[in-house]
């Protein structure tokens, strides 16, 4: 048997060992900043920038979290800002799903003149990056009186070309017989859509909803443009504001970072399959 243990056998073993070593080191490097965020959030500022970094906090330093929630002016504005983020990300995600599936359904299952043109036009918007139209969009929002409102934060993101594409691709394979059977049974078109089409689009809808929610939770540039008052700020703006005003206290900053990440981490731990699904990934360029 030991005749098999030739040079190539040892090379193979060495290769496997190298692969494991590489992956473990890379994994550690990627996770270190996350570990840093969590451990530092539990430490008083003077421990965080000590040489060398202590890594293990001595218990949780609660003032970080309390001050992080109270905000720079001690008015507990974190809760208001977190609420804003939830309202914006929640509504965008809900209405994006609704609009995209309506449009995708219309394009997939109804024949009308101009259908191809409509589809091409919508797909063409994928080539318009948000960053390129943000200034004109900002002017539009100002003219419509949308600055500093929820509508201003929500409306520009409801029409989502990728969403339409995703839903159309999914619904095009939806069996026509089911729809026709429902029509013969006397169901109206709206009921067919809400009671048959929507409930059976589960995975696509979930991918799209999570995608929309994430990109809004993360959004910095547009809120920077439309929001003026501290009350209307979203979490990313809360963080930038906090950073500008209390740049010195690292413990509070990390506590705020942890607080801001809780919803996403929770979603990730419970619904990770929708985060790393192929549909959700290839769409990133539009997010």
């Amino acid at each position: 048997m030991h005749l098999n243990k030739t040079r190539s056998w040892y090379l193979e073993k060495a290769g496997t060992a190298f692969v494991w070593l590489f992956l473990i080191v890379a994994c550690a490097l990627v996770l270190i900043p996350l570990v840093f965020m969590f451990t530092a959030s539990a430490m008083p500022a003077r421990d965080i920038l000590r040489l060398p970094y202590p890594w293990i906090p001595k218990g949780i330093h609660w003032p970080n979290f309390i001050k992080g929630l109270m905000g720079p002016e001690d008015d507990w504005i974190f809760f208001r800002n977190a609420f804003n983020s939830l309202v914006v990300a929640g509504s965008v995600s809900l209405f994006t799903v609704l609009l995209s599936s309506m449009t995708g359904y219309g394009l997939a299952k109804f024949k009308f003149r101009g259908r191809t043109l409509v589809f091409m036009l919508i797909m063409a918007t994928m080539m318009i990056p948000f960053e390129a139209i943000m200034i004109p969009l900002y002017m539009v929002a100002m003219r419509m009186g949308l600055q500093d409102t929820y509508a201003g934060l929500i409306l520009p993101f409801l029409a989502n070309a990728f969403g339409v594409f995703l839903m159309r691709q999914f619904l095009i394979t939806f069996p026509d017989e089911i729809l026709d059977a429902a029509r013969i049974d006397g169901a109206g078109e709206i009921r067919i859509f809400t009671n048959i089409v929507l409930p059976s689009s589960g995975p696509s809808v979930a991918t799209l909803a999570i995608l929309a929610f994430r990109s809004q939770w993360d959004s910095l540039l547009w809120p920077l443009l439309v929001v003026q008052s501290d009350e209307m700020k979203t979490i990313p703006l809360y963080i930038t504001r906090y950073m500008a005003e209390t740049h010195s206290d690292e413990g509070i900053m990390m506590a705020v970072a942890v607080l801001a990440s809780i919803p996403m981490i929770t979603l990730f731990l419970t619904l990770s399959k929708y985060f790393v699904s192929k549909d959700g990934l290839t769409s990133a360029t539009k997010g």
Partner: protein, 303 residues
Amino acid sequence: MRRKRGFSMERKKALWGWIFVIPSLLFFSAFSFYPIINAFYESFFNRNLLSLRPPRFVGWSNYTYLFNSRDFWLSVQNTAIFTVGTFIPLVVFSLILAVFIMSISRFRRFFQLAFYAPAVLSSVVAALIWLLIFDPRGLANQGMNALLGTTGVNYNWLSDTFMLRLSTIVVYFWKYIGYFTVLFVSGIGAIPHTLTEAALIDGANRWQLFWRITFPLLKPTTLLVSVMTMIQCLKTFSTQYLFTSAGAPTRPLNVITLSIYNTAIKDYRIGRATAMSILLFLVMFAFTWLQLRVSRTEEVTFM
């Protein structure tokens, strides 16, 4: 009789088609088509956000101003450095990680999720964490000193031009490495086992397996990932914005989106900012078009 009914059914269906499509068409018109057309228009005017005077038609002068402006070319250069400096390591390392992950038999899911974890954080949080790591007393200096055997050297992560650009690249690399690794993993997963097994039976080693089988079949995925990364990098904003507002020098980090933002919001020069947006749009349009072309041909068929 029957014929007539069929005809009206068809018209009814066409009507319903429009009913389902029109709401989002309205949104696309207001928030995509109108702004981009308006952007072309505005880029020929000298609108000022604060001025009450009506904007004046200035022809191409916003564009000629930009082409003669050293700040504009600096921001183009910054964006180019960031894009090239980020996308090459991202593509190379995510490919390596994906190949390695697929070559082990256990913990595949674990490694994918672990590498993906930073992508879950918002970009603001990512920038915040790294700001502290790059602090002169922070982990980055401690790590470098331990690695290079020096003591107490400050590598100026947040002040030296080169290091500052490197820092933003590190943040971006860290945040997106897992994301592209997962894309490559699904690309490799699509390669039929029969192909790799046949190669192994023929006596191919791992090295040959990668260069002869995996990599050629992954070319479409690699191309797609490369274009996607480039598009992402061209639009980078959050990291640079956070770093500069935390006090880092602006010039090395002034990428094009940051420059558009500052020109419009701090200098109130809407016309000039829109002209910059149009230039960014044209570049990204080319890349996105390329991406759509690439993703259409992405599906490799395995006979």
